[in-house]
Symmetry: C2
Subunit: 242 residues, 2 copies
Protein backbone atom coordinates (compact mmCIF):
# COMPACT_ATOMS: atom_id res chain seq x y z
CA UNK A 1 0.00 0.00 0.00
CA UNK A 2 1.29 3.45 -0.93
CA UNK A 3 2.04 6.03 1.77
CA UNK A 4 -0.84 8.49 2.05
CA UNK A 5 1.34 11.52 2.61
CA UNK A 6 -1.11 14.00 1.09
CA UNK A 7 -3.57 13.48 3.94
CA UNK A 8 -1.00 14.51 6.55
CA UNK A 9 -1.79 18.03 7.77
CA UNK A 10 1.76 19.39 7.39
CA UNK A 11 2.22 18.01 3.89
CA UNK A 12 -1.22 19.03 2.69
CA UNK A 13 -0.78 22.56 4.04
CA UNK A 14 2.57 22.90 2.24
CA UNK A 15 1.29 21.34 -0.97
CA UNK A 16 -1.70 23.67 -1.05
CA UNK A 17 0.69 26.63 -1.24
CA UNK A 18 2.55 25.46 -4.38
CA UNK A 19 2.06 27.33 -7.63
CA UNK A 20 0.59 24.23 -9.24
CA UNK A 21 -1.99 23.95 -6.45
CA UNK A 22 -3.10 27.57 -6.62
CA UNK A 23 -2.78 28.32 -10.35
CA UNK A 24 -3.56 24.81 -11.58
CA UNK A 25 -1.99 23.35 -14.71
CA UNK A 26 -0.54 26.66 -15.89
CA UNK A 27 1.32 26.92 -12.57
CA UNK A 28 3.34 23.82 -13.46
CA UNK A 29 6.41 24.51 -15.61
CA UNK A 30 6.25 21.12 -17.32
CA UNK A 31 2.53 21.26 -18.22
CA UNK A 32 3.00 22.69 -21.73
CA UNK A 33 5.47 19.92 -22.58
CA UNK A 34 3.19 17.23 -21.16
CA UNK A 35 0.17 18.71 -22.90
CA UNK A 36 2.03 18.55 -26.23
CA UNK A 37 2.35 14.78 -25.72
CA UNK A 38 -1.40 14.24 -25.29
CA UNK A 39 -3.64 13.02 -28.12
CA UNK A 40 -6.64 15.13 -29.15
CA UNK A 41 -8.75 14.59 -26.07
CA UNK A 42 -12.16 15.31 -27.53
CA UNK A 43 -14.56 12.40 -27.13
CA UNK A 44 -12.09 10.31 -25.12
CA UNK A 45 -12.70 8.28 -21.99
CA UNK A 46 -9.99 9.41 -19.59
CA UNK A 47 -8.52 8.27 -16.28
CA UNK A 48 -6.29 10.52 -14.18
CA UNK A 49 -4.13 8.50 -11.78
CA UNK A 50 -3.47 10.78 -8.83
CA UNK A 51 -5.90 13.53 -9.76
CA UNK A 52 -5.20 15.74 -6.76
CA UNK A 53 -7.37 18.85 -6.83
CA UNK A 54 -8.87 17.76 -10.15
CA UNK A 55 -7.26 20.42 -12.37
CA UNK A 56 -6.54 17.98 -15.17
CA UNK A 57 -9.96 16.30 -14.92
CA UNK A 58 -11.65 19.67 -15.41
CA UNK A 59 -9.25 20.65 -18.20
CA UNK A 60 -9.99 17.36 -19.99
CA UNK A 61 -13.74 17.97 -19.80
CA UNK A 62 -13.34 21.56 -20.98
CA UNK A 63 -11.46 20.16 -23.97
CA UNK A 64 -14.15 17.70 -24.90
CA UNK A 65 -13.32 14.50 -23.01
CA UNK A 66 -16.41 12.30 -22.93
CA UNK A 67 -15.93 11.13 -19.37
CA UNK A 68 -13.18 11.42 -16.80
CA UNK A 69 -12.37 9.23 -13.84
CA UNK A 70 -10.17 10.98 -11.27
CA UNK A 71 -8.47 8.67 -8.78
CA UNK A 72 -6.52 9.64 -5.70
CA UNK A 73 -5.48 8.10 -2.42
CA UNK A 74 -5.96 11.35 -0.53
CA UNK A 75 -9.41 12.15 0.76
CA UNK A 76 -8.41 15.76 1.37
CA UNK A 77 -7.46 16.08 -2.30
CA UNK A 78 -10.66 14.40 -3.47
CA UNK A 79 -12.78 16.64 -1.24
CA UNK A 80 -11.11 19.70 -2.72
CA UNK A 81 -11.58 18.35 -6.26
CA UNK A 82 -15.29 17.71 -5.66
CA UNK A 83 -15.70 21.14 -4.07
CA UNK A 84 -14.52 22.75 -7.33
CA UNK A 85 -17.96 22.10 -8.75
CA UNK A 86 -20.14 19.29 -10.02
CA UNK A 87 -19.66 17.92 -13.55
CA UNK A 88 -21.74 15.00 -14.67
CA UNK A 89 -18.79 13.82 -16.79
CA UNK A 90 -16.29 13.59 -13.94
CA UNK A 91 -16.22 10.86 -11.30
CA UNK A 92 -13.81 11.09 -8.39
CA UNK A 93 -12.89 7.99 -6.41
CA UNK A 94 -10.38 6.91 -3.83
CA UNK A 95 -7.77 4.43 -5.05
CA UNK A 96 -4.36 3.11 -4.04
CA UNK A 97 -2.27 2.86 -7.22
CA UNK A 98 -0.33 -0.04 -5.71
CA UNK A 99 -3.58 -2.03 -5.57
CA UNK A 100 -5.45 -0.57 -8.50
CA UNK A 101 -7.82 -2.51 -10.69
CA UNK A 102 -9.61 -1.05 -13.71
CA UNK A 103 -12.15 -2.56 -16.12
CA UNK A 104 -10.84 -4.00 -19.41
CA UNK A 105 -10.48 -1.91 -22.56
CA UNK A 106 -12.63 0.88 -21.12
CA UNK A 107 -10.48 3.98 -21.60
CA UNK A 108 -8.72 5.87 -24.39
CA UNK A 109 -6.26 7.86 -22.30
CA UNK A 110 -4.65 7.24 -18.96
CA UNK A 111 -2.90 10.30 -17.58
CA UNK A 112 -0.77 10.68 -14.47
CA UNK A 113 1.13 13.70 -13.22
CA UNK A 114 3.92 13.37 -10.64
CA UNK A 115 2.49 10.41 -8.80
CA UNK A 116 4.26 7.31 -10.12
CA UNK A 117 7.32 7.94 -7.93
CA UNK A 118 5.09 7.10 -4.95
CA UNK A 119 4.20 3.74 -6.51
CA UNK A 120 6.27 0.77 -5.43
CA UNK A 121 5.38 -1.77 -8.13
CA UNK A 122 5.12 0.08 -11.45
CA UNK A 123 5.06 -3.09 -13.53
CA UNK A 124 1.85 -4.19 -11.81
CA UNK A 125 0.36 -0.74 -12.34
CA UNK A 126 1.47 -0.56 -16.01
CA UNK A 127 -0.14 -3.97 -16.66
CA UNK A 128 -3.34 -2.72 -15.06
CA UNK A 129 -3.26 0.42 -17.22
CA UNK A 130 -2.47 -1.54 -20.37
CA UNK A 131 -5.46 -3.87 -20.08
CA UNK A 132 -7.72 -0.94 -19.16
CA UNK A 133 -6.90 0.89 -22.40
CA UNK A 134 -8.66 0.21 -25.65
CA UNK A 135 -6.26 -0.86 -28.45
CA UNK A 136 -4.46 2.27 -29.67
CA UNK A 137 -5.14 4.02 -26.36
CA UNK A 138 -2.54 6.33 -24.83
CA UNK A 139 -0.73 6.42 -21.51
CA UNK A 140 0.91 9.80 -20.82
CA UNK A 141 2.63 10.56 -17.55
CA UNK A 142 5.18 12.61 -15.71
CA UNK A 143 7.25 11.39 -12.78
CA UNK A 144 10.16 12.71 -10.80
CA UNK A 145 13.37 12.20 -12.74
CA UNK A 146 15.66 9.56 -11.23
CA UNK A 147 18.58 12.01 -11.23
CA UNK A 148 16.46 14.16 -8.94
CA UNK A 149 15.39 11.25 -6.78
CA UNK A 150 18.47 9.03 -6.56
CA UNK A 151 20.81 10.90 -4.19
CA UNK A 152 21.13 9.94 -0.54
CA UNK A 153 20.89 13.65 0.14
CA UNK A 154 19.19 15.39 -2.80
CA UNK A 155 20.16 19.02 -3.13
CA UNK A 156 22.43 21.55 -4.76
CA UNK A 157 26.13 21.91 -4.03
CA UNK A 158 28.73 24.44 -5.11
CA UNK A 159 31.91 22.94 -6.50
CA UNK A 160 35.43 24.25 -5.89
CA UNK A 161 35.15 26.51 -8.93
CA UNK A 162 31.85 28.03 -7.82
CA UNK A 163 29.61 26.02 -10.13
CA UNK A 164 26.20 24.90 -8.98
CA UNK A 165 26.00 21.12 -9.23
CA UNK A 166 23.60 18.34 -8.27
CA UNK A 167 25.71 15.60 -6.68
CA UNK A 168 24.41 12.18 -7.67
CA UNK A 169 25.03 8.98 -5.76
CA UNK A 170 23.22 5.63 -5.48
CA UNK A 171 21.69 6.08 -8.94
CA UNK A 172 21.87 2.36 -9.67
CA UNK A 173 20.59 1.36 -6.25
CA UNK A 174 16.84 1.29 -6.80
CA UNK A 175 14.32 1.34 -3.99
CA UNK A 176 12.70 3.63 -1.45
CA UNK A 177 14.00 7.10 -0.68
CA UNK A 178 12.84 8.94 2.38
CA UNK A 179 12.96 12.70 1.89
CA UNK A 180 11.83 15.81 3.68
CA UNK A 181 9.86 17.62 0.97
CA UNK A 182 7.05 19.64 2.57
CA UNK A 183 7.01 17.15 5.46
CA UNK A 184 9.44 14.70 7.06
CA UNK A 185 9.63 11.10 5.94
CA UNK A 186 8.01 11.32 2.51
CA UNK A 187 8.70 7.96 0.86
CA UNK A 188 9.35 7.82 -2.88
CA UNK A 189 10.51 4.87 -4.99
CA UNK A 190 13.63 5.45 -7.05
CA UNK A 191 14.08 3.54 -10.27
CA UNK A 192 16.16 4.21 -13.35
CA UNK A 193 14.69 5.45 -16.63
CA UNK A 194 15.55 2.04 -18.05
CA UNK A 195 13.51 0.24 -15.40
CA UNK A 196 10.48 2.46 -16.02
CA UNK A 197 10.65 2.06 -19.81
CA UNK A 198 11.30 -1.68 -19.68
CA UNK A 199 8.28 -2.11 -17.38
CA UNK A 200 6.15 -0.29 -19.96
CA UNK A 201 7.49 -2.49 -22.77
CA UNK A 202 6.96 -5.65 -20.69
CA UNK A 203 3.39 -4.58 -19.97
CA UNK A 204 2.84 -4.44 -23.74
CA UNK A 205 3.26 -0.73 -24.46
CA UNK A 206 5.05 0.86 -27.40
CA UNK A 207 7.12 3.87 -26.33
CA UNK A 208 6.19 7.00 -28.31
CA UNK A 209 8.11 9.80 -26.62
CA UNK A 210 10.51 10.27 -23.70
CA UNK A 211 11.33 13.73 -22.46
CA UNK A 212 13.59 14.90 -19.69
CA UNK A 213 11.86 18.20 -19.02
CA UNK A 214 13.82 21.31 -19.86
CA UNK A 215 12.23 24.74 -19.32
CA UNK A 216 12.00 26.75 -22.52
CA UNK A 217 14.03 29.92 -23.04
CA UNK A 218 10.77 31.89 -22.81
CA UNK A 219 9.96 30.29 -19.46
CA UNK A 220 13.42 31.11 -18.13
CA UNK A 221 13.13 34.70 -19.37
CA UNK A 222 9.79 35.05 -17.58
CA UNK A 223 10.98 33.28 -14.43
CA UNK A 224 14.80 33.46 -14.13
CA UNK A 225 14.95 31.04 -11.18
CA UNK A 226 14.05 28.27 -13.65
CA UNK A 227 17.54 28.54 -15.16
CA UNK A 228 18.92 26.18 -12.54
CA UNK A 229 16.63 23.48 -13.94
CA UNK A 230 19.07 23.23 -16.88
CA UNK A 231 21.70 21.77 -14.55
CA UNK A 232 19.75 18.59 -13.83
CA UNK A 233 16.33 17.32 -14.89
CA UNK A 234 13.55 17.34 -12.32
CA UNK A 235 10.85 15.60 -14.33
CA UNK A 236 10.63 12.67 -16.72
CA UNK A 237 7.72 12.76 -19.21
CA UNK A 238 6.68 9.67 -21.16
CA UNK A 239 4.01 8.77 -23.66
CA UNK A 240 3.25 5.22 -24.68
CA UNK A 241 0.61 3.46 -26.71
CA UNK A 242 -1.29 0.19 -26.26
Amino acid sequence: MAQNIYDREDFFAGYSQLGRSIEGLEGAAEWAALRAMLPDISGLRVVDLGCGFGWFCRWAREHGAKEVLGLDLSEKMLDRAKAAGPDIGITYAKADLDQLSLPQASFDLVYSSLVLHYVEDVLRLFETVHQALAPGGHFVFSTEHPIFMAPTKPGWAIDTEGRKTWPVDQYLVEGPRSTNWLAKGVVKHHRTIGTTLNALIRAGFTIDHVEEFRPTDAQIAAKPELAEELERPMFLLVSARR
Copy 2:
Protein backbone atom coordinates in the same frame (compact mmCIF):
# COMPACT_ATOMS: atom_id res chain seq x y z
CA MET B 1 32.81 15.05 -39.83
CA ALA B 2 33.59 13.25 -36.59
CA GLN B 3 36.86 13.86 -34.76
CA ASN B 4 39.32 11.07 -35.52
CA ILE B 5 40.74 10.89 -32.03
CA TYR B 6 41.67 7.22 -32.19
CA ASP B 7 44.35 7.93 -34.77
CA ARG B 8 46.14 10.38 -32.47
CA GLU B 9 49.27 8.71 -31.06
CA ASP B 10 48.63 9.65 -27.43
CA PHE B 11 45.00 8.51 -27.48
CA PHE B 12 45.72 5.31 -29.37
CA ALA B 13 48.54 4.40 -27.01
CA GLY B 14 46.29 4.92 -23.99
CA TYR B 15 43.36 3.13 -25.56
CA SER B 16 45.49 0.13 -26.42
CA GLN B 17 46.23 -0.35 -22.70
CA LEU B 18 42.58 -0.62 -21.59
CA GLY B 19 41.22 -3.97 -20.39
CA ARG B 20 38.74 -3.99 -23.25
CA SER B 21 41.55 -3.52 -25.79
CA ILE B 22 43.74 -6.27 -24.38
CA GLU B 23 41.18 -8.82 -23.20
CA GLY B 24 38.53 -8.04 -25.82
CA LEU B 25 34.82 -8.30 -25.11
CA GLU B 26 35.28 -10.10 -21.79
CA GLY B 27 37.42 -7.19 -20.61
CA ALA B 28 34.40 -4.88 -20.84
CA ALA B 29 32.17 -4.92 -17.75
CA GLU B 30 29.03 -4.16 -19.76
CA TRP B 31 29.55 -6.82 -22.43
CA ALA B 32 27.47 -9.54 -20.75
CA ALA B 33 24.52 -7.13 -20.43
CA LEU B 34 24.86 -5.99 -24.04
CA ARG B 35 25.24 -9.57 -25.27
CA ALA B 36 22.00 -10.51 -23.50
CA MET B 37 20.23 -7.89 -25.64
CA LEU B 38 21.42 -9.38 -28.95
CA PRO B 39 19.25 -11.66 -31.09
CA ASP B 40 20.53 -15.12 -31.99
CA ILE B 41 23.28 -14.08 -34.35
CA SER B 42 23.58 -17.25 -36.37
CA GLY B 43 23.05 -16.69 -40.09
CA LEU B 44 22.70 -12.91 -39.69
CA ARG B 45 24.20 -10.17 -41.82
CA VAL B 46 25.86 -7.84 -39.33
CA VAL B 47 27.35 -4.33 -39.29
CA ASP B 48 29.52 -3.10 -36.44
CA LEU B 49 29.61 0.71 -36.32
CA GLY B 50 32.94 1.60 -34.76
CA CYS B 51 34.47 -1.85 -34.84
CA GLY B 52 37.79 -0.87 -33.29
CA PHE B 53 40.12 -3.85 -33.05
CA GLY B 54 37.42 -6.12 -34.48
CA TRP B 55 36.67 -8.09 -31.30
CA PHE B 56 32.92 -8.06 -31.91
CA CYS B 57 33.24 -8.83 -35.63
CA ARG B 58 35.24 -11.94 -34.81
CA TRP B 59 32.86 -12.92 -31.99
CA ALA B 60 29.91 -12.57 -34.36
CA ARG B 61 31.53 -14.84 -36.92
CA GLU B 62 32.46 -17.39 -34.25
CA HIS B 63 28.79 -17.41 -33.26
CA GLY B 64 27.56 -18.07 -36.77
CA ALA B 65 27.02 -14.63 -38.34
CA LYS B 66 26.82 -15.05 -42.10
CA GLU B 67 28.80 -11.92 -42.89
CA VAL B 68 30.10 -9.00 -40.89
CA LEU B 69 30.96 -5.49 -42.00
CA GLY B 70 33.23 -3.69 -39.53
CA LEU B 71 33.37 0.08 -39.95
CA ASP B 72 35.69 2.50 -38.22
CA LEU B 73 37.08 5.97 -38.79
CA SER B 74 40.46 5.04 -37.39
CA GLU B 75 42.99 3.49 -39.74
CA LYS B 76 45.11 2.37 -36.82
CA MET B 77 42.15 0.46 -35.42
CA LEU B 78 41.32 -1.07 -38.79
CA ASP B 79 44.94 -2.11 -39.32
CA ARG B 80 44.93 -3.83 -35.95
CA ALA B 81 41.60 -5.51 -36.72
CA LYS B 82 42.86 -6.81 -40.05
CA ALA B 83 46.09 -8.01 -38.45
CA ALA B 84 44.08 -10.29 -36.15
CA GLY B 85 43.70 -12.68 -39.04
CA PRO B 86 41.83 -13.06 -42.33
CA ASP B 87 38.20 -14.21 -42.34
CA ILE B 88 36.37 -14.39 -45.63
CA GLY B 89 33.16 -13.43 -43.82
CA ILE B 90 34.48 -10.17 -42.34
CA THR B 91 35.01 -6.96 -44.31
CA TYR B 92 36.66 -3.98 -42.67
CA ALA B 93 36.22 -0.49 -44.10
CA LYS B 94 36.85 3.09 -43.15
CA ALA B 95 33.73 5.16 -42.49
CA ASP B 96 32.74 8.39 -40.78
CA LEU B 97 29.49 7.71 -38.92
CA ASP B 98 28.47 11.35 -39.40
CA GLN B 99 28.49 10.78 -43.16
CA LEU B 100 27.59 7.12 -43.35
CA SER B 101 25.56 5.57 -46.11
CA LEU B 102 24.56 1.90 -46.21
CA PRO B 103 22.64 -0.13 -48.80
CA GLN B 104 18.90 -0.63 -48.26
CA ALA B 105 17.49 -3.54 -46.26
CA SER B 106 20.79 -5.39 -46.43
CA PHE B 107 21.46 -6.26 -42.78
CA ASP B 108 19.78 -8.10 -39.91
CA LEU B 109 21.74 -6.60 -37.03
CA VAL B 110 23.51 -3.30 -36.58
CA TYR B 111 25.70 -3.20 -33.51
CA SER B 112 27.68 -0.34 -32.02
CA SER B 113 29.72 -0.23 -28.84
CA LEU B 114 30.68 3.07 -27.20
CA VAL B 115 30.93 5.10 -30.37
CA LEU B 116 27.66 7.00 -30.74
CA HIS B 117 28.76 9.67 -28.24
CA TYR B 118 31.29 10.77 -30.88
CA VAL B 119 28.52 11.21 -33.45
CA GLU B 120 27.09 14.70 -33.80
CA ASP B 121 23.88 13.97 -35.72
CA VAL B 122 22.40 10.74 -34.36
CA LEU B 123 19.05 11.22 -36.09
CA ARG B 124 20.78 11.12 -39.48
CA LEU B 125 22.71 8.02 -38.44
CA PHE B 126 19.62 6.29 -37.01
CA GLU B 127 17.73 6.93 -40.27
CA THR B 128 20.65 5.45 -42.20
CA VAL B 129 20.69 2.39 -39.93
CA HIS B 130 16.90 1.98 -40.13
CA GLN B 131 16.77 1.86 -43.91
CA ALA B 132 19.79 -0.47 -43.98
CA LEU B 133 18.04 -3.06 -41.81
CA ALA B 134 15.68 -5.66 -43.19
CA PRO B 135 12.19 -5.47 -41.62
CA GLY B 136 12.39 -6.99 -38.14
CA GLY B 137 16.14 -6.31 -38.01
CA HIS B 138 17.80 -5.25 -34.76
CA PHE B 139 19.87 -2.27 -33.71
CA VAL B 140 21.75 -2.84 -30.46
CA PHE B 141 24.16 -0.31 -29.05
CA SER B 142 25.94 1.07 -26.04
CA THR B 143 26.91 4.69 -25.56
CA GLU B 144 28.28 6.76 -22.73
CA HIS B 145 25.50 7.61 -20.31
CA PRO B 146 24.52 11.30 -20.35
CA ILE B 147 24.97 11.53 -16.56
CA PHE B 148 28.57 10.55 -17.18
CA MET B 149 28.99 12.95 -20.08
CA ALA B 150 27.00 16.03 -19.08
CA PRO B 151 29.13 17.71 -16.41
CA THR B 152 31.36 20.68 -17.22
CA LYS B 153 33.99 18.86 -15.20
CA PRO B 154 33.20 15.17 -15.08
CA GLY B 155 34.63 13.43 -12.05
CA TRP B 156 34.04 12.24 -8.51
CA ALA B 157 33.67 14.52 -5.51
CA ILE B 158 33.41 13.85 -1.79
CA ASP B 159 30.52 15.58 -0.07
CA THR B 160 30.61 17.16 3.39
CA GLU B 161 29.58 13.85 4.96
CA GLY B 162 32.30 11.87 3.19
CA ARG B 163 30.10 10.35 0.51
CA LYS B 164 31.44 9.81 -2.99
CA THR B 165 29.22 11.69 -5.45
CA TRP B 166 29.18 12.53 -9.15
CA PRO B 167 28.28 16.22 -9.40
CA VAL B 168 26.04 16.82 -12.38
CA ASP B 169 25.57 20.15 -14.12
CA GLN B 170 24.50 21.21 -17.63
CA TYR B 171 22.53 17.99 -18.09
CA LEU B 172 19.87 19.74 -20.16
CA VAL B 173 22.37 21.71 -22.22
CA GLU B 174 23.06 19.36 -25.08
CA GLY B 175 26.03 19.68 -27.39
CA PRO B 176 29.76 19.06 -27.55
CA ARG B 177 31.86 18.28 -24.49
CA SER B 178 35.63 18.52 -24.64
CA THR B 179 37.25 16.14 -22.18
CA ASN B 180 40.69 14.87 -21.35
CA TRP B 181 40.19 11.11 -21.43
CA LEU B 182 43.41 9.42 -22.55
CA ALA B 183 44.29 12.59 -24.49
CA LYS B 184 43.46 16.26 -24.32
CA GLY B 185 40.55 17.71 -26.26
CA VAL B 186 38.52 14.59 -26.95
CA VAL B 187 35.18 15.85 -28.28
CA LYS B 188 32.00 13.98 -27.39
CA HIS B 189 28.38 14.97 -28.03
CA HIS B 190 26.15 15.09 -24.99
CA ARG B 191 22.44 14.42 -25.42
CA THR B 192 19.79 13.28 -22.98
CA ILE B 193 18.38 9.76 -22.95
CA GLY B 194 15.13 11.29 -24.20
CA THR B 195 16.83 12.81 -27.24
CA THR B 196 18.50 9.51 -28.15
CA LEU B 197 15.29 7.49 -27.77
CA ASN B 198 13.13 10.03 -29.59
CA ALA B 199 15.61 10.05 -32.49
CA LEU B 200 15.27 6.26 -32.72
CA ILE B 201 11.46 6.50 -32.66
CA ARG B 202 11.50 9.27 -35.27
CA ALA B 203 13.75 7.17 -37.49
CA GLY B 204 11.08 4.46 -37.35
CA PHE B 205 12.41 2.14 -34.65
CA THR B 206 10.44 0.41 -31.90
CA ILE B 207 12.29 0.51 -28.57
CA ASP B 208 12.76 -2.97 -27.11
CA HIS B 209 15.02 -2.46 -24.11
CA VAL B 210 16.81 0.38 -22.33
CA GLU B 211 19.42 -0.36 -19.72
CA GLU B 212 21.52 1.93 -17.60
CA PHE B 213 24.38 -0.47 -16.97
CA ARG B 214 24.83 -1.67 -13.43
CA PRO B 215 27.62 -4.13 -12.63
CA THR B 216 26.30 -7.38 -11.15
CA ASP B 217 27.01 -8.37 -7.56
CA ALA B 218 29.29 -11.13 -8.91
CA GLN B 219 31.26 -8.59 -10.96
CA ILE B 220 31.68 -6.35 -7.91
CA ALA B 221 32.77 -9.30 -5.77
CA ALA B 222 35.39 -10.22 -8.36
CA LYS B 223 36.49 -6.62 -8.93
CA PRO B 224 35.64 -4.45 -5.89
CA GLU B 225 36.56 -1.18 -7.65
CA LEU B 226 33.40 -1.64 -9.75
CA ALA B 227 31.29 -0.81 -6.67
CA GLU B 228 31.63 2.91 -7.40
CA GLU B 229 29.76 2.31 -10.66
CA LEU B 230 26.58 1.98 -8.55
CA GLU B 231 26.78 5.69 -7.70
CA ARG B 232 26.20 6.84 -11.28
CA PRO B 233 25.73 5.03 -14.58
CA MET B 234 28.59 5.07 -17.04
CA PHE B 235 26.91 3.33 -19.98
CA LEU B 236 23.51 3.39 -21.64
CA LEU B 237 22.52 0.22 -23.53
CA VAL B 238 19.62 0.19 -26.00
CA SER B 239 18.02 -2.32 -28.31
CA ALA B 240 15.50 -1.35 -30.95
CA ARG B 241 13.79 -3.06 -33.85
CA ARG B 242 12.92 -1.98 -37.39
